[in-house]
């Protein structure tokens, strides 16, 4: 099968998945025993007011007609208005999603820059000091709660050392005096694109701690996956041959072995990416980072149906896209992998 037809087939399957997810999520939210009309009407609304709001929001129609009116609007990109923020949901998502993506990209970059090299070194000297250390670190990083790490980082770097900011995406001085013009919605990237160096420095300083916290699990994962994958590769006959041919250990490690070992590492990192989309919520809450995780969590607690539907759908699409990209990357790296 050609590359294009593979992609097309995958996109077709994506559509089916999205429809199924939307129906399941829709049913799940409607089964909840709470009343969003009461929330929307406000804290002191009378019973009649709540009833009129229920009609206004279309919540008194049949489930089927509610679903189809939602689906029809969604196809046109109109996710409706959030019951909680009274803002159009598509503009809310445009604000919050890039912020989370920025966090996740930064965490993934850290995972690759720190985790992979350490995994390589660990594999080079099995049972050596680095190997034992990375095993210990990986277990700790996977076990330690992210909110605890977040607060410890805040304590050390803000309260004690005053090196880094406590929370938020940018400082108020930047917002007022050198505002970052939103292009992608990611603070650091937009500042770079707009050559706003003051803003860039500020946004970067705010990004460090949350990205570090979010990267813990991926770093640990990358370390151990690289280590075990490399371990398997290093046993292969062509490695022994390369050694016999006189190539340096460094060349063998990074030029031959790593490339072949990267495939499972990338798969796992790709899955972690998609998981972090809503898994970043604890980090977002503690660092007051205005991301999609915090947004959808508040929506769930407030029974904000339209937001729950919209974010679930967006999340599904991203998850599937990331999977597709990871598969394509794998196919590129490793010709033994056949797509389709």
């Amino acid at each position: 099968m050609t590359g294009i037809s593979i992609v097309l087939r995958r996109l077709g399957m994506t559509l089916v998945v999205i429809v199924c997810v939307s129906i399941i999520t829709f049913m799940a939210t409607r089964i909840l025993p709470t009343d969003p009309a009461a929330l929307y009407a406000g804290p002191r609304a009378s019973a009649e007011k709540i009833e009129s709001v229920r009609q206004q929001l279309g919540l008194d129609n049949s489930l089927v007609s509610q679903y189809f009116s939602f689906a029809g609007d969604a196809l046109r990109g109109d996710f409706g208005v959030s019951f909680r923020t009274r803002q159009p949901i598509s503009s809310d998502i445009k604000r919050f999603l890039p912020a989370t993506l920025e966090l996740i990209f930064a965490a993934m970059i850290l995972a690759m820059l720190i985790g992979i090299p350490l995994g390589v070194v660990a594999a080079a000297k099995p049972k050596g000091f680095v190997d034992q250390l990375t095993r210990l670190m990986a277990i700790s990083m996977a076990s330690v709660p992210s909110f605890w790490v977040a607060m410890i980082l805040q304590l050390v770097f803000f309260k004690w050392l005053n090196w880094l900011p406590l929370s938020g995406q940018v400082s108020i001085e930047t917002t007022l005096f050198s505002p970052i013009v939103p292009i992608t919605g990611m603070g650091t990237l937009d500042a770079l694109l707009g050559r706003n160096w003051v803003g860039f420095r500020d946004a970067l300083r705010h990004l460090v701690l949350p990205a570090l916290t979010l990267s813990l699990y991926p770093v640990g994962l990358a370390m151990r996956m690289t280590r075990s994958s490399m371990g398997a590769v290093m046993q292969e006959r062509y490695i022994t041959t390369a050694r016999a041919m006189g190539l340096s250990e460094l060349q063998i490690l990074f030029k031959f072995a790593l490339k072949n070992a990267l495939s499972p590492v990338l798969t796992v990192l790709g899955l972690t990416f998609a998981f972090s989309l809503t898994g970043a919520v604890l980090v977002e809450v503690i660092f007051d980072w205005p991301g999609i995780g915090a947004y959808v969590t508040a929506a769930i607690l407030a029974v904000d149906f339209p937001v729950i539907m919209a974010v679930t759908l967006v999340g599904t699409v991203i998850y599937i896209l990331v999977n597709l990209l990871v598969d394509l990357a794998q196919a590129t790296l490793d010709p033994r992998v056949k797509l389709g």
């Binding site: 025993p33 709470t34 009343d35 969003p36 009309a37 009461a38 929330l39 009407a41 406000g42 804290p43 002191r44 609304a45 009378s46 019973a47 007011k49 909680r84 923020t85 009274r86 803002q87 809310d92 604000r95 607060m151 805040q154 803000f158 309260k159 005053n162 090196w163 880094l164 900011p165 406590l166 929370s167 938020g168 400082s171 108020i172 001085e173 930047t174 917002t175 007022l176 003051v198 420095r201 500020d202 970067l204 300083r205 460090v208 809450v285 503690i286 660092f287 007051d288 205005p290 915090a294 947004y295 508040a298 607690l301 407030a302 029974v303």
Partner: protein
């Protein structure tokens, strides 16, 4: 130095830039609030967004607390004086000269008419306060005459925190959407510079404001919505925030010890109570209700859980509000008496099982329910805790009383400063239940409340007396367990001057009064 080391030290230097590198501007004030603002439309807003609205808009009249409850006054806002007709069916307001809206439109009686009519038309949650207003006449640009169907204390109502703001007639047909995009149309000292719903609102000083500003006043105010209480505290202590609400009561003393921060306590007209379902046996028996009221651990709640930051309630009307009866019955925990009352009522030990509901995620009700459960266990009553979302609680309570919860814990605060909004809204008999969630039906009580309401505009002394009588009756009849009257505690940086909290406008920082 090789390139790696240089690279690393460059990054380190970047990271280590002190926060002071970005210039600290003294006329920027940062306030931290809890959850986001729902509705910035001044005609319909009925929640925490008055934190913004009270600085951008102004009412005709302001409510000012006195030294104690009885000497509260109504101060001129956009109206300079007001007078009622003989029969109390019309109120004439003289308006302030030389005031313009943010869009340049002059403030006239047309604006008053437009604002009230828009509020009535949009029927927001608090629009009922204008129920008696039939029409508004505008004989000249600086005179507005309210024509009423029944006597009603219009100046007091015009000082309400909700639905009483004056809006520019240029708003025309615009809906709440326009306001929720961050647009403004008021007369106040500040305008909205930017609004990110649920995250941050930035207000800046309006150059052409008609009134005065203090020396060293604030030019820019940043209002942040931060969900996490620990983060709110850290921001205050770290100097990132100048003012904060929603601080954990357990930590208040510790925060106060910090030399840069103080805790400011102010009276609030908010209270906390648990409505008994009077329509569901055996809670229809007054002895049972009294037993439950004698069982509640008031001391523990006030002094331990709330760290002495609140006072025990005495009846439904909070202390400091006209209508509060200082001699009304107040229960204290007395387990023996509670047991005796229960057996008097014919309820056997360990036979009664009650369900209590309260808002999930709220710390005070959770703790209150837990200590109540332990206390009730001592008198042989089992209390089942059921935290729920507010809407679900409300729906359960307003459905069939036979299936509704037994005790409904909630907070309440008035729309404008009147005990009517406690006595009547919560306990006057209703056929279609609105907020009388205890299903209390007492004709004597209703008569007293009605008397107080009817004389409110014409004879405030007898009105207050009637309300006090009603308060006494209610406290003795125990249709609810009255737990505490709230005080609001806020964290403020020491260098902020002139900050006072007005209980009629909860959680509002009046930016035009403070300076650094």
């Amino acid at each position: 130095m090789n390139i790696t080391v240089r690279f690393i030290s460059a990054i380190a230097a970047l990271m280590m830039c002190s926060t002071l590198a970005l210039a600290q501007n003294n006329s920027i004030f940062t306030a931290t609030y809890t959850t986001g603002f729902i509705d910035l439309d001044p005609s319909t807003a009925a929640s925490s967004e008055i934190a913004v609205l009270a600085n951008v808009y102004e009412p005709l009249v302001w409510w000012q607390p006195g030294e104690n409850g009885s000497d509260a006054t109504l101060e001129p806002g956009l109206a300079t004086s007001w007078e009622a007709s003989e029969d109390g069916l019309s109120w004439t307001f003289k308006l302030r000269e030389g005031v313009t809206f943010h869009d340049g439109t002059p403030f006239t009686s047309e604006a008053v008419k437009f604002s009230i009519e828009r509020t009535q038309r949009l029927e927001g949650a608090s629009a009922w306060i204008w129920w008696a207003v039939e029409s508004i006449e505008t004989p000249d640009p600086l005179t507005a005459v309210f024509k009423l169907t029944d006597p009603s204390p219009i100046p007091l109502i015009a000082s309400s925190a909700y639905c009483a703001w004056m809006i520019s007639p240029m708003v025309g047909d615009k809906t709440g959407e326009w306001f929720n995009a961050g647009n403004v149309a008021g007369t106040g000292p500040f305008t909205i510079r930017s609004y990110k719903a649920g995250v941050q609102t930035i207000l800046e000083r309006h150059a052409d404001y008609w009134g005065e500003s203090p020396e060293g006043g604030i030019d820019i105010a940043v209002i942040d919505n931060v969900e996490d209480p620990v983060l709110r505290e850290q921001r205050l202590l770290g100097g990132k925030s100048d003012w904060s609400e929603g601080l954990d009561t357990d930590n208040l003393a510790q925060i106060d010890e910090n030399e840069n921060v103080r805790i400011a306590n102010f009276k609030a007209f908010q209270n906390f109570f648990g409505m008994y379902n009077v329509a569901k046996p055996p809670l229809d028996n007054i002895k049972v209700r009294q037993a439950l009221s004698y069982a509640f651990p008031y001391d523990q709640m006030v002094n331990n859980i709330m760290s002495g930051q609140v006072t025990q309630a005495r009846g439904i009307v909070p202390v400091g509000m006209p209508g509060h009866a200082a001699d009304a019955m107040q229960f204290t925990q007395d387990i023996e008496k509670a047991k005796a009352l229960l057996s008097d009522a014919g309820v056997e030990q360990d036979s009664l099982k009650l369900t209590i509901t309260y808002t999930a995620g709220s710390p005070e009700p959770q703790k209150a329910a837990e200590i109540y459960k332990a206390a009730l266990a001592q008198i042989g009553v089992e209390l089942v805790l059921q935290p729920m979302a507010w809407e679900a609680q409300y729906e359960l309570a307003t459905s069939d009383p036979a299936n509704a919860q037994d005790i409904f814990m909630m907070f309440w605060w008035p729309t404008y400063v009147t005990s009517l909004d406690f006595l009547s809204s919560l306990f006057r008999s209703e056929d279609d239940i609105n907020y009388n969630l205890s299903y209390y039906k007492n004709a004597d009580f209703d008569a007293l409340v009605d008397k107080g309401a009817d004389t409110m505009a014409t004879d405030s002394a007898s009105s207050v007396q009637a309300f006090e009588e009603a308060s006494r009756l209610l406290a003795a009849d125990a249709p609810a367990v009255f737990i505490y009257d709230q005080q609001n505690a806020y964290g403020v940086r020491e260098d902020i001057k002139g900050y006072i909290s007005n209980p009629a406008y909860s959680h509002v920082v009046f930016l035009n009064q403070i300076s650094r």
